[in-house]
């Protein structure tokens, strides 16, 4: 009898790869799921479990299933992708400067003049004097649109 591939290898790989795709396309735009992407973490867990299942099948029932080596490589790849994702989210993303010298509550924010999107120089004082700023301004520093 021809030996079969354990389907859980392919399914597991697909699920593990779907996790970062889901994060980047659906979860990142929402600030809440961006910080704690439960759906992606769950997919990683399910994917790795499937890969483990495939590996166990290949090794425990080699007369029925093939793919001992492929299943091991698949599991190692799945763990590597999962590890890289968790490293990025829980370590690399947290390597932001302390910014201890940033303006604090009660301090006057340093004035500045910067070009707006049309290249016109705008000062903070001008912004605060504009009709839309009767109660001040919310300055949102961001990493850029790249």
């Amino acid at each position: 009898m021809k030996r079969r591939w354990p389907y859980s290898i392919w399914l597991g790989l697909a699920v593990v790869l779907a996790a970062p795709v889901l994060y980047l396309t659906v979860l990142v735009p929402n600030p809440a799921t961006r910080a704690m992407p439960w759906p992606s973490l769950l997919l990683f867990a399910v994917g790795v479990a499937l890969l483990l299942h495939g590996l166990l099948r290949a090794w425990r029932a080699p007369q029925v299933y093939r793919g001992k080596v492929v299943a091991a490589i698949a599991l190692a790849s799945g763990l590597a992708v999962t590890g890289f994702f968790c490293w990025g989210l829980f370590y690399a993303a947290r390597q932001v400067p302390d910014s201890l010298g940033a303006p604090r509550v009660g301090q006057l924010a340093p004035d500045f003049t910067l070009p707006d999107q049309d290249g016109r120089p705008v000062s903070l004082a001008q912004l605060l004097a504009s009709p839309h700023a009767s109660n001040g301004a919310m300055l949102v520093f961001y990493r850029g649109g790249w």
Binding site: P31, V96, D111, H132, A133, M138
Partner: protein, 112 residues
């Protein structure tokens, strides 16, 4: 940014001007505004002077190892005094528009 645009009327209703600041040149911000339909003001700190003076420079964190701004939000009252600050510990964690609006509301309630 997208979620900020969606809540822009609520900033307007509170008389608070929303301003986005990055090291991107004005042309790039103009493109981004047009493509994404953002209508609030974008300022371009290409020289990193303002980012540096606010101590928000994140060295070598941008494309090609360039220096960019770390995410941060400041609510200033009409006199330019800081009323609320958020310095996120992780670039994956940003203040939500609801949190920004709540900070404004709390500050305005305190003033009364």
């Amino acid at each position: 940014m997208r979620s900020l645009q969606a809540h822009l009327p609520e900033f307007d209703a509170r008389g608070v001007r929303l301003v986005a600041i990055s090291v991107d040149p004005p042309e790039e911000s103009a493109d981004l505004r047009k493509k994404a339909g953002y209508t609030f003001t974008f300022l371009g700190d290409t020289k990193r002077e303002v980012t540096r003076s606010y101590d928000l420079l994140h060295p070598r964190a941008g494309p090609g190892g360039s220096d960019i701004a770390r995410p941060a939000e400041f609510y200033l009252d009409a006199t330019g005094t800081v009323r609320w600050v958020n310095l996120t510990p992780s670039i994956a964690e940003r203040a939500t528009p609801e949190e920004l609006l709540a900070a404004i509301d709390a500050s305005l309630a305190e003033k009364k």
